[in-house]
Symmetry: none
Subunit: 143 residues, 2 copies
DNA sequence: ATGTAAATATTCACCAATAAACATCGAGCC
DNA sequence: GGCTCGATGTTTATTGGTGAATATTTACAT
């Protein structure tokens, strides 16, 4: 399970050092693609495969299914991890996420998310009020 | 069951010695994360797992649920207890709780809470005068 | 009260992770 | 052939995490 938040920087060649804590579970050939809310998703190979399988099982007749599959699959790229633990971020994905030099790398259970730090902070703040509400509800449920 | 209150200090590397009374029940790989009221939560592995299970059972379609997962998981960190009974407090969590050098470590049944001592004192004082009224409300809840 | 052991605080030293700079290689172009 | 550019690989310095040793305090038993 991926958890935690790390602030890393890209080198001049758009390479990102993956946090060492994530590497063992991520494997050597993860997949990076566009994510929701203007971030990037990074999956271990097996996780990626199971998601693609689920997509295949959806009815191709529905326009939304076709749209989402195209969004998700056309943007995907193999992100081989080199000996120093780095991956290259393709330019198109950098643009989608608004990434320049710094990124926030976030573990969210079965995936890793890559955010432009400002957007990440903004996103968290925009939900901060509802988060306390949800947290209180969860506490009521016995957590 | 965790009970009691301890005042401990961090070393220069942000390490906190866990009260010896807590260690046997806490296990060697607890999870620390953001808590409510500007404190930190420290859970034994099993407690953490059951909370994550409850989170997974929530409907993923709702944006607030996604936001809460991100909030809860990104703030979490494995807090491995070393041979001397210490854990490292990540900088982001220290900031969330306003912790500098001293902390109050508090046992609350199935979890441990970590407070900045001033906030802890303030919190207890703010409720101490009305504790009899609160107790009456609890009576309504069946206690 | 005093000695003993356990728990906690503090300091130092070392190693791994990261950032940044630099080097190498190959493909395409002039 | 020589040049440029992009991709990939290597090296080094710095930072931060990790471990060990010692000092100090506290708790307990005699």
């Amino acid at each position: 399970m991926f958890i935690g938040e790390y602030l890393h920087s890209l080198d001049t060649k758009s390479r990102l050092t993956i946090p060492a804590k994530f590497r063992p579970e991520l494997g050597v050939l993860p997949i990076v693609t566009k994510g929701l809310d203007n971030c990037l998703f990074l999956f271990p190979t097996e996780e990626w495969n199971s998601i693609v399988e689920k997509l295949k099982s959806l009815p191709l007749g529905k326009p939304e299914v076709r749209a989402f599959s195209r969004f998700f699959l056309s943007a995907a790229a193999e992100a081989e991890i080199d000996k120093q633990g780095r991956i290259v971020l393709p330019t198109s994905l950098k643009e989608h996420a608004g990434i320049d030099k710094e990124v926030a790398v976030v573990g969210v259970s079965n995936r890793i998310e890559i955010w432009e730090p400002g957007k990440w902070q903004e996103y968290m703040q925009s939900y901060s009020s509802s988060i306390t509400e949800i947290a209180e509800k969860l506490v009521d449920l016995g957590i």
